[in-house]
Amino acid sequence: MMQYPYIPNSNEAVRKEMLDFIGAKSVEELYSFIPDEVRMKKPLNLPEPCTSEISLKKYMDGILKKNSSCEENISFLGAGCYNHYVPAVCDEINGRSEFLTAYSGDTYADHGKLQAFFEFTSMMGELLDMDVVGFPTYDGGQAASTAIMMSRRINGRSTALVPASMNPGLYSQLACYCEGMKLVKIASCPDGQLDLKDLQSKLNDDVACAFIQNPAFLGFFEEQSGEIGKLAHSAGAEYVVYADPSSLGIILPPADYGADIACGEIQPLGIHMSYGAGLGGYLATRQEEKYVMNYPHHLYNIFRNSRGQFGYARALPERTSYFAREKAVEYLGTCVGLWAVTAATYLAVMGPAGMKELGENILYKSNYAEKKLSGLKGIRLPHSASYSFMEFVVNFDGAGKTVSEINKALLSTGIFGGYDLSREMPELGQSMLVCVTEKTELSDIDALADALAKIL
């Protein structure tokens, strides 16, 4: 038989030795108890394999070569997945065999992994000004879903108020996950800000929580975030804020303007976009029983032994589905531990000064881009009266061209234009969401403005 490089016991002589020890003539004999009726009737029909690593690499590289990445073009895409700079140290650490291939070992064998997890939750706690941070979940959408379901479990109510202009992909995920809940949309003012009158009119004693994104999906800061929290609290509802951690070096964390539950996406913290694969969600609260006992996730607690050494173990595990099955708080499976390690590394690399400078760098550039584009013929920036961060909406209704046409033209000059909002948010007309990050050069923005001037 063929000797497979990944299968040591495909060695003929070893196989015979093992079968002799077992007392079987063949491997088939070992599974002869599987009934014929459930067996495959014919061999799998799969593509011819590339059995050598050399041919596999050639084959896979040939496929990947068909991609043209954000490194080879100028990209203004964001909308939930961001082209931030990934410090080399982050890749070095998450590429370590020990972390990459560890799984569920705990207090002793994987002490280092648990310390890294604890440092992740601790640094997120500082960034968010909150004492409890859970082990990260699949993505920001999952974290937001749990935040909303957490509020339902706390107060027994079944309506969640969400901005009408929130991320439509996120909305779709919430709508799927929040079983038994009604998502009610709150209108926006012309400048994008949440309409507090509409919010007030929809607050009642069935509202479990008010949910906002800050910065909002469309790129502006919710300037009335303090008032929104007060209104939610006055109706007995929880206040849930989905905050982008890359903004938290310069703007207040949600807890400081009244949020009870903070959640969001950790992809900005040192994780490559990978076509939207590199996601992870964080969830944080105050340290109160009503919140803590409603986390579905692992909570890694710090302990100290008599020798003065710190160690870590999962606290209050009876909440989780590993213990309580269908009676658990939601469900908990394999999520994104490697991204916890990565984000911990990122925050340690950045430090408070790095996070502040990151925020300022982005702030300068998105405002620079707004100024550059606002002068172009046929362009309107509908939310220019609001303060933007990283992203902003550009409307082309006055140009007589669709975003799709404009983006095609931009692509031919090596530019990925902003996310086309017209598919999911047709009420915004022909609009795109332009995104800049610390990786965007001012000259890239100038190139976009020049290209648009030619296209329009």
Binding site: L46, T101, S122, G141, Q309, R325, V341
Partner: protein, 519 residues
């Protein structure tokens, strides 16, 4: 007695401080370009760009360190972690700890994959779209089902996604309020209960009979017009294969319910059994288990959610299609459950799994399954013959196992006072990662569930069994050695490792410091 293969192991013990303790105010690891000079004249000062009420004035108390110190800190923590790459990771059964080929890491880390944005124009993402499309075709063949989504970011989310499709299917048929129950087995993964419950289903769990799986009578007693479906794992986490699975499926189908197979324990079945022949309408595979993507400190993983043709319309969107010339993203799907996770899913796992299948092909996959079965049966005979105090439940009525076994150290505990947890901690002293005992509830007392996948050589298995023998012998001769383990780990045992009340919780450094009066 000699234990020829055993090592004199000690894990790294760096005594590494919590990172905040290493902070030196003013130190920097990463500088960010200052654009105030170039952009400021256009935008105005940065302070004018933020709403006054939202400015952060108190900086976050993150550590301040230079780059060599940050790198060294996390490298040291990595050395206090035992990944599959560095140990004979036979112990973590149900987790299918197998070799994750290094070449596949190169593909995942290529900028051609890592620097791609999910909303790029399809014409610029033909490579990634081809991988998704091609691997869907491969998983259709491996499952025997008709459509596959990779949106779910792990096994639990895969089960959840199937529960969501199940719910949508009955909603579409107007039976949502009638079909409120799902049936599973108590020896299936806990998420086969918890994920459908999260989707709003009532859960009924079947207990095993004398032969290790539930009887058909037990199933018939709970199936009714309320049954939405059955979530089954076969083989179950015990390694016992349910030979009458087909009759189970028929009973549920006759009652109008659907069958959802959890293929988390699939590694022994490559090329042998598919979801289709089991009669499943849906199933999921963990690409971070049988399909070699690394477990990454508990994720990111990926579930391949496979469904029959008439359920395709309910799958999460978007889907990837091929028109004969080009691959494209299809967002349409009015009947879809919506999004389970953002964008196209955890594609790094898909890319690795695709490369892994492409490196093995049909014959290689069959060899994977058969070798997993061979390894387990070899280890099983050695363990049961040579390790004192261990036994295998249901061994009389159901003596056969496929790729893994749930053993019991009940006798060892009775004889010596050494529990499965004590044995587990002592494994580390010989250089082995913790073993997986069992999911809850512990139907098998003092459980131990190893899975010697195809990645382990005969010598690896022999070394591992030597450690089990050594620990068992110590339990009978010098139990205090086992009871006080681990001896050679990164830290000495914690006298206390649990809390009773929420106010004792310290999951952040700031909470710990507050409790100890220093924040």
């Amino acid at each position: 007695m000699s234990y020829s293969k055993l090592r004199n192991f000690h894990e790294a013990q760096w005594d590494e401080p919590v990172i905040f303790e290493e902070s030196v105010p003013g130190s920097r690891s990463m500088l960010i370009p200052d654009v105030s000079g170039a952009a400021g004249p256009v935008t105005g000062d940065v302070n004018s760009l933020l709403p006054a009420g939202l400015k952060r004035t108190r900086k976050p108390a993150l550590p301040e360190m230079a780059q060599p110190q940050v790198l060294r800190h996390y490298l040291r923590l990595s050395q206090e972690t035992i990944g599959q790459d560095i140990n004979i990771d036979i112990g973590l059964g149900t987790c299918t700890m197998k070799y994750s080929p290094k070449i596949n890491e190169q593909f995942v880390r290529s900028p051609k994959f890592a620097e791609m944005h999910p909303y790029q124009d399809d014409s610029t993402a033909q490579g990634t779209l081809k991988v998704i499309y091609d691997f869907e075709q491969i998983m259709k063949e491996i499952s025997g089902l008709d459509a596959v989504s990779f949106q779910a970011g792990g096994g639990g989310q895969g089960i959840y996604a199937n529960a969501a499709v199940l719910k949508e299917y009955f909603r579409d048929r107007g039976e949502e309020n009638q079909r409120t129950q799902i049936i599973t087995t108590i020896l299936s993964h806990p998420l086969d209960s918890a994920a459908p419950a999260t989707k709003g289903f009532e859960v009924i769990s079947l207990y095993p009979d004398a032969n290790g799986y539930p009887s058909l009578e037990n199933l018939k007693a709970v199936v009714s017009e309320k049954t939405a479906g059955i979530f089954i794992t076969n083989p179950e986490d015990t390694g016992v294969f349910n030979p009458i699975v087909h009759q189970f499926v028929e009973v549920v189908h006759e009652a109008g319910g659907l069958c959802v197979c959890d293929m988390a324990d699939y590694n022994g079945l490559f090329g042998l059994v598919r979801a289709k022949e089991l009669g499943a309408d849906m199933c999921h595979f963990n690409l971070h288990k049988a399909f070699s993507s690394p477990h990454g400190c508990m994720g990111p993983g990926c579930a391949a959610q496979c469904v029959s043709a008439d359920l395709e319309k309910y799958l999460p969107r978007p889907r990837v299609r091929f028109d004969g010339e080009r691959y494209y993203t299809d967002y349409q799907g009015p009947a879809s459950v919506g999004k389970i996770r953002q964008f196209q899913g955890s594609l790094a796992a898909v890319l690795r799994a695709y490369a892994w299948v492409m490196s093995l092909g049909r014959d290689g996959l069959k060899t994977v399954g058969e070798t997993a079965i061979l390894n387990n049966n070899y280890m099983m005979k050695r363990v049961l013959n040579e390790v004192r105090g261990i036994s295998m439940p249901w061994s009389e009525e159901a003596p056969n196992r496929l790729e893994q076994v749930r053993y019991s150290f009940e006798k060892l505990l009775e004889d010596t006072g050494v529990s499965a947890e004590h044995v587990n901690r002592h494994m580390l002293d010989f250089g082995f990662q913790r073993f997986f005992p069992s999911h809850h509830p512990l139907i098998v007392p003092e459980p131990y569930t190893p899975e010697p996948t195809e990645s382990y050589s005969k010598d690896d298995i022999d070394e591992y069994v030597s450690a089990l023998k050594k620990i068992s012998d110590e339990a009978y001769s010098t139990p205090e050695v086992v009871l006080t383990a681990p001896h050679n780990g990164p830290i000495s045992p914690l006298e206390n490792d649990s809390i009773e009340h929420v106010d004792q919780l310290a999951v952040t450094w700031r909470a710990y410091q507050k409790q100890n009066g220093s924040h």
